[in-house]
C-alpha cells in the first residue's frame, strides 16, 4: 500500500519540516520551563498554567510524528501534570522542571 521507495524522500522532507518548525517546538518547551520555574516559586498564573497545558498537549501530539517517541511520552506526562485544576501543586514543580529539561535536550538533539 505504501510506497517503500518513497521512504527516503519522506524522511528527508520530514527533516526539512523539523528545521522549519524547530522554533515552535523550542517555544513550547520554553513555556513548560517557565511554568515549572513559576510553579517552584509558587507564582504560576492561570495564563501560564493554561499555556503550559496547551504546549504540553501540542508537543505530545507532534514529537512522536517526527520520530521522537520519548518526547511524546514525556510531554503527555507534563500534560497530565498540568491538567490538574485549579493548577498543578507545587509538589510537582520538580518533576515538571525535569520533564521540561529532558524535552529541551530531545528537541535540541534531533538530527
Amino acid at each position: 500500500m505504501t510506497d517503500p521507495a518513497g521512504q527516503p524522500a519522506l524522511t528527508e522532507a520530514l527533516g526539512r519540516l523539523w528545521v522549519q518548525f524547530l522554533p515552535q517546538m523550542e517555544e513550547r518547551v520554553a513555556i513548560l520551563e517557565s511554568a515549572a520555574a513559576a510553579l517552584a516559586a509558587n507564582q504560576l498564573s492561570i495564563e501560564q498554567h493554561q499555556a503550559a497545558h496547551a504546549a504540553a498537549h501540542k508537543l505530545a501530539g507532534v514529537l512522536g510524528t517526527f520520530g521522537l517517541t520519548k518526547g511524546t511520552i514525556l510531554a503527555r506526562e507534563a500534560e497530565t501534570l498540568c491538567s490538574a485544576e485549579p493548577g498543578p501543586g507545587s509538589a510537582v514543580a520538580a518533576r515538571l522542571a525535569q520533564i521540561a529539561a529532558q524535552l529541551h535536550a530531545i528537541v535540541q538533539n534531533r538530527k
Binding site: 510506497d3 519540516l17 522549519q20 517546538m25 498537549h57 505530545a60 501530539g61 512522536g64 510524528t65
Partner: protein, 134 residues
C-alpha cells in the same frame, strides 16, 4: 484511484506533516484549513473524499465543526476522521459517540497514515502513485 483529503488543524506543523505524508506516500491530493470555519468553507468548495479533523482548536473545536459538517447538506456525507492527541479512554468514548467514521491518534507514523485512513474508510489498497492518473 486518487483521493482528495481535507485536513482541518490549527497547528501548522501537523498540517504540513499530514500533507507531506499523504502526498508522498499515497499520492493523494491534500487541501488544508487552519480553523473549523475555514474547514467548513473548504469542504463545501473542494468536496474532499474524507476530512481529517483536529479536536482541540480555538474558536470552533473539532466536535462543533463535525456537527456543522453533518448539518450542511453539501458536506453531510463526507467521511470525517478525528485526529487527536487525547488518548484517555473517556475522551475516546466521547469521540466515538459523536458519530465520526474513525478516531486516529497523534502522534502518527507518517509512513502509514494513509494506510490507517484507507483501512478506517474501507478503501482497500491505496493505489501506487500513477503519473497517468488524472
Amino acid at each position: 484511484m486518487s483521493r482528495r483529503i481535507l485536513i482541518i488543524d490549527d497547528e501548522a506543523d501537523i498540517r504540513e506533516v499530514v500533507a507531506l505524508s499523504l502526498e508522498t506516500v499515497a499520492d493523494w491530493e491534500v487541501v488544508t484549513a487552519s480553523s473549523g470555519a475555514q474547514g467548513l468553507a473548504s469542504a463545501i468548495e473542494h468536496q474532499p473524499d474524507a476530512i481529517l479533523l483536529d479536536v482541540m482548536m480555538p474558536g470552533m473545536d473539532g466536535p462543533t465543526t463535525f456537527r456543522e459538517l453533518r448539518n450542511n447538506p453539501a458536506t453531510a456525507r463526507i467521511p470525517v476522521l478525528l485526529l487527536t492527541a487525547k488518548v484517555q479512554s473517556t475522551d475516546q468514548k466521547r469521540f466515538a459517540d459523536l458519530g465520526v467514521e474513525a478516531v486516529l491518534f497523534k502522534p502518527f507514523d507518517p509512513l502509514t497514515l494513509s494506510e490507517q485512513i484507507a483501512a478506517a474508510l474501507g478503501w482497500g489498497e491505496c493505489p501506487e502513485p500513477n503519473p497517468g492518473n488524472p
